[in-house]
Symmetry: C2
Subunit: 306 residues, 2 copies
């Protein structure tokens, strides 16, 4: 049951399967989104970092969203990554999604220029919001400084919330740092804050997080959902369940996450096409595969059961 | 006179003037390219960092190139920035430029994902070269780790030169670090290496650089060209001329370069539209403007004479 009140809960940034030409594979992608939603996720985010969003053109991204919606996925259970370097690209993707009923967008700041001022980043977000002009737009700020190189500061959030209180709804903190995430939660009670890793999910929920948006949900949705539900039910089991998903996360992230997750899906679905990656991502080495298998074996992780 | 032999010399990464809607202004851009080529530059690079390339869509970039060519600019005096995060975008921009006779492309690596392997970056460049399939394509690697976050390593260059010796022609080193630039020159004599700042131009020319691709040429082309010509003529004046352009560069880069250069062009041309910037870039503050004016005044720099 989705927590429709605040879009909280467990969200998976969906992996993007590829055709031989390294374009998004709409059939496999749609099937994966449905598996995620049927398998425990409150929602799925298309075109996050895990979905290799920046490796695709605006047209490829729009086409894939349309295919997923045409397959019957409810737009309110989707979130779309729409933050690009180019202003008109961000506007186009955001307006496209919102026009199709997908009002929740997860937006990177423009990420080529570094060391930009809060004012410059505010102007970027404001230009997108103003040009899209959809009063139902729900903007989630995407804070992932390790990859974007462009942090979302508290000052920027404050300025955006002041100017667009009806639009700026949340923030994903992909730093993995509990202090960073807790800082956003404490400072901005109006925001739905999501850590980007389930390893700190319970701790952050207890502090007021809205849920979690985590790549691992592509292969471990049900277990992550059990932690969320146990927290909602104030069950004493929550901590032990949390320890289980944290242990798995440590194994998954010990090697490059996107290749790891695509490999595991290929294994689970017996579909080698799932291993395809868009460069600059590369396949796991034999050594990385062995380390992954060994780590999963130690945990007794079963691909079928997850 | 362009050094057509190896495309060496003084190149300006052209600033991109904007319309009120923050789209490239083709009329002003064409005029600027012509001024650069008439004013001392061997060539002009469209859609570098200085040209705010990443702030525009693929369509906007293609349309501007077409407008510049339609205005009669010779394609061999242009270089086009064509490296995007998305593979199909890089392919489209590169094929478009090459198809119009602009065979020289300055290519950033895909710059969202960080910490990628040389193999992954090789695969990215190789996919563009293979898909474009133009035997006349002249690829210049764009090394600007401070902004891209993705360095071009010696190992990557070696691998590319081995696989595509007819295509990989050069490299722009925008680190500003003479050791980095000299390292590429020494290791890869087959490459036309360009430092990204004229402050080290003479030193690098003496070590074997092909020239310089520098933002400052938007406002100081003639003086930079005089250094290059003095070096070609083995004139003893070269060092003193170099000291002059270095002193100006220090003033220009003491504040954000793109706003500084656009402000100076607006002043020179008495055209305030030239001050427009695409967010996240912001206009110079009053304090920055005063510091700039003061620095230029100390040098006796005249906007009209440059």
């Amino acid at each position: 049951m989705a927590n429709t009140e605040n879009s909280g809960g467990v969200w998976a940034p969906a992996l993007t399967p590829l055709t031989k030409d390294l374009a998004p594979d709409s059939g496999r992608a749609t099937a994966q989104v449905k598996r995620l939603l049927d398998g425990g996720c409150h929602g799925a985010a298309l075109f996050g970092t895990t979905g290799e969003a920046t490796s695709f053109s605006v047209e490829q991204r729009m086409a894939l969203l349309e295919a997923v919606l045409e397959a019957g996925v409810a737009p309110e259970r989707l979130m779309v990554g729409s933050g690009c370097c180019a202003l008109v690209d961000s506007v186009r993707l955001t307006a496209h999604a919102a026009g199709l009923g997908v009002k929740k967008v997860l937006m990177l700041p423009p990420f080529y220029y570094k060391g930009m001022s809060d004012q410059g980043l505010f102007d970027s977000y404001a230009a997108v919001i103003d040009r899209v002009g959809d009063p139902e737009l729900a903007l989630y700020l995407y804070h992932f400084p390790r990859l974007s190189g462009v942090p979302i500061t508290h000052g920027l959030v404050e300025q955006l919330l002041f100017a667009y209180p009806q639009t700026v709804k949340g923030l994903k903190d992909s730093t993995g740092d509990p202090e960073s995430c807790a800082g956003f939660i404490a400072r901005f009670p109006a925001l739905a804050v999501f850590p980007g890793t389930e390893s700190i999910m319970l701790d952050m929920l207890l502090k007021g997080a809205a849920g979690c948006i985590t790549a691992s949900a592509n292969v471990n949705a049900a277990a992550i959902r059990r932690v969320y539900d146990a927290w909602r039910a104030e069950s004493p089991e929550a901590r032990e369940l949390q320890d289980g998903i944290t242990a798995l996360r440590m194994v998954l992230q010990a090697n490059p996450m996107i290749p790891v997750l695509k490999h595991l899906l290929a294994e689970r679905l017996e579909d080698p096409a799932w291993r395809r990656l868009c460069p600059p991502l590369t396949a796991l080495s034999a050594e990385q595969l062995r380390a992954l298998d060994s780590g999963l074996g130690d945990l007794g992780f079963s691909l079928e059961a997850a």
